[in-house]
Structure formats: structure tokens, C-alpha cells
């Protein structure tokens, strides 16, 4: 067991501002063995240049992915909006629970 001390002393040094979020997403790509997959993921932070998401499978760094992110529409009953992105995996972080943290840099995106 450990105790941790929360701190807000980390400064933002990224080129693009980012937000903490909890958006549902569908990831389409290939796993480390080259097999195609489509799987649900959870985007936990996002900037205009990329996302960090939690996924239940491992993907190799450098792999290409398509991520369809469901944007929240709040109280506006106009149907769900989606952000369709293509990008490359730039970082993979395994968690002890088996979940993988995947950072993706966008190559391009569009709204639908």
C-alpha cells in the first residue's frame, strides 16, 4: 500500500491544449499480430492533435488506427455527433488490470 499526495504543480507544456473527458469511442485497427479488430474504448483526454484512451487490447506503437469518438450533445436532442479520426499510436501503457492506455496522434479528422 502507498499513500499518494495529490498535486497540481505540473504545468501544461503541450503545444495543444487538452481536456479531460470520458467519451465513448470505437477503435478500428490491427493488433500486434496484424489481425483486424473493432473494439469499444474510452477516451479520457483529448486535444486538437490527439487523444489518450483506455482499450482492452494491446496495439503496437506506430500502428494506424481509426477512432470514432461519440461527442456528447448535452440537452440538445439532435442526435449524437461523432468525431471521426485517423492516426498513429505514439505511446502504449499497460495497466496492471490488463487495460492498455493508448496515445494516438491524429493524421486527420472530420466531424459527422
Amino acid at each position: 500500500m502507498n499513500q499518494i499526495q495529490g498535486t497540481n504543480a505540473f504545468s501544461e507544456k503541450r503545444a495543444k491544449s487538452r481536456i479531460t473527458c470520458n467519451f465513448a469511442a470505437i477503435v478500428v485497427g490491427q493488433d500486434e499480430k496484424g489481425r483486424e479488430f473493432e473494439e469499444n474504448a474510452r477516451v479520457v483526454n483529448m486535444s486538437a492533435s490527439g487523444i489518450y484512451m483506455l482499450l482492452n487490447r494491446s496495439i503496437g506503437a506506430g500502428e494506424k488506427l481509426s477512432v470514432r469518438i461519440a461527442l456528447p450533445t448535452g440537452s440538445l436532442k439532435l442526435g449524437s455527433s461523432k468525431l471521426l479520426t485517423d492516426g498513429n499510436v505514439v505511446r502504449v501503457e499497460p495497466y496492471t488490470t490488463g487495460v492498455m492506455g493508448i496515445a494516438v496522434k491524429f493524421n486527420h479528422y472530420r466531424f459527422r
Binding site: 505540473f10 495543444k16 481536456i19 479531460t20 470520458n22 486538437a48 439532435l78 449524437s80 468525431l83 459527422r112
Partner: protein, 230 residues
Amino acid sequence: MVKESKDAIRIILLDNLTMVRAGLRLLIESQADMKLVGEAGDLHEALHIIADLKPDIILLELSQNGNLELEAIPQLIHANGKSRIILVTSSTDPCLYHQAMQCGVLGVVLKTQKPEVLLKAIRKVYEGEAWVERSMVASLLTNITRNQPAIPTHLETECIAHLNQREKEIVCLIGNGLNTKQIASQLFISESTVRHYLTSIYEKVNVSGRLELLIFAYRVGLVNLAHLTP
């Protein structure tokens, strides 16, 4: 019979399962430095006893049946700002841990742990420390360092000040994920007018595209993520 000390840690249990509460009650009552002052199985009851009893520690098990969900944590804290919440959970989802701590939980203890671990966590959190599983520290710190809460910078605040009311409305709608056609329909204006507004907004807030504007809208609070669900 265990003798209680005068300065016993005052604890309440929040769990919609009666038998689980009974087990935790026995554990707490066996400790000389702890006192169980109340328990509740749903949010309404929980808010009432927290405000009334002002416990030092709240042991919380999340459940949908009793409305004791993640979203309830800020309400629990609001009921008595001095109470410290420890989440007792069977979940090993790092996302849940992170969200719970973002909401104000100060300790997370897995149900699979020995009872002594929970007792130690209660004492540490009572003393002003935080408590999480060793295995979760790395992922939590990663989340903390990479997911800083959005605080508008001075520059961003200035940018907002330059937007007129209509432009703010459009930024808000972009933040809600609407496309040009939907915004036009929502505001009863043409798509071309929306595009004109967007050009002006991009220049005023110094962004280069719609996604960057969406991020801006969240960062500066023109759209509140807490009230949105995907």
C-alpha cells in the same frame, strides 16, 4: 467489549447491501479508535445523515440501485465538507479510480484486500493522507500529470471577452458536437452565416479549426463536461 476512545474516528457506511454493511459494522465496532455513527443504503438517506452526524470518514460503495453513483460524490462532500470519503470497491478499473479521486474521494480500497488494510486506510485518511492501491499509483499519477483540470489562461479569458453573445452561442454549440447544418437549424440562420461567424470566432480565439475550437469551448467552460454524457 471494546472500549472506545474519546477521539474515536466517526464513520458512516454507505452501501445499498444490508449484509455488506453488517460485515463492515462488525469490523469497525471491533476497533477502539473507531465509532460507527450511522449507515445508509441510498443517496437521500446518506445526505441526511451526513449533514446531521458530520462523520469524519464516509465508507462508500458505489451502486446504481441506491443512487450511490460516482455523480453523487460531490453531493456527499457538499453535505459536510469536512467528511473524507473512502471508496470501497470490487472494481479494478483505473478510470473509475481516477474519476472517483477527481470527484473528491481520498482513498480507494479493494474489497479483495484484508480487513486490516481498510482499517489502516481509514486511519491514514483520517490523519489527512490519501490511500490507493500500490498497483494503481503509477496509473493514477499518469492520469494526474496528463489530465490537468482545465483552467482558462489569462489569454483564453481575454479571447472570451472578445466574443459577442451570438459567437459564444456558436462556440457552445460546437462544443456540444453540432455541425454547421445543425447549428444553422438551432439558431434559425443560414449555414453560410454560421461559417462567417466561425471565421470570425477562429480569429478571435486564435484557433485553426473546429476541433481546436471544441477543445477551447471545454477548457474555458463554455461547455461543461460534467453535464454531458456521450
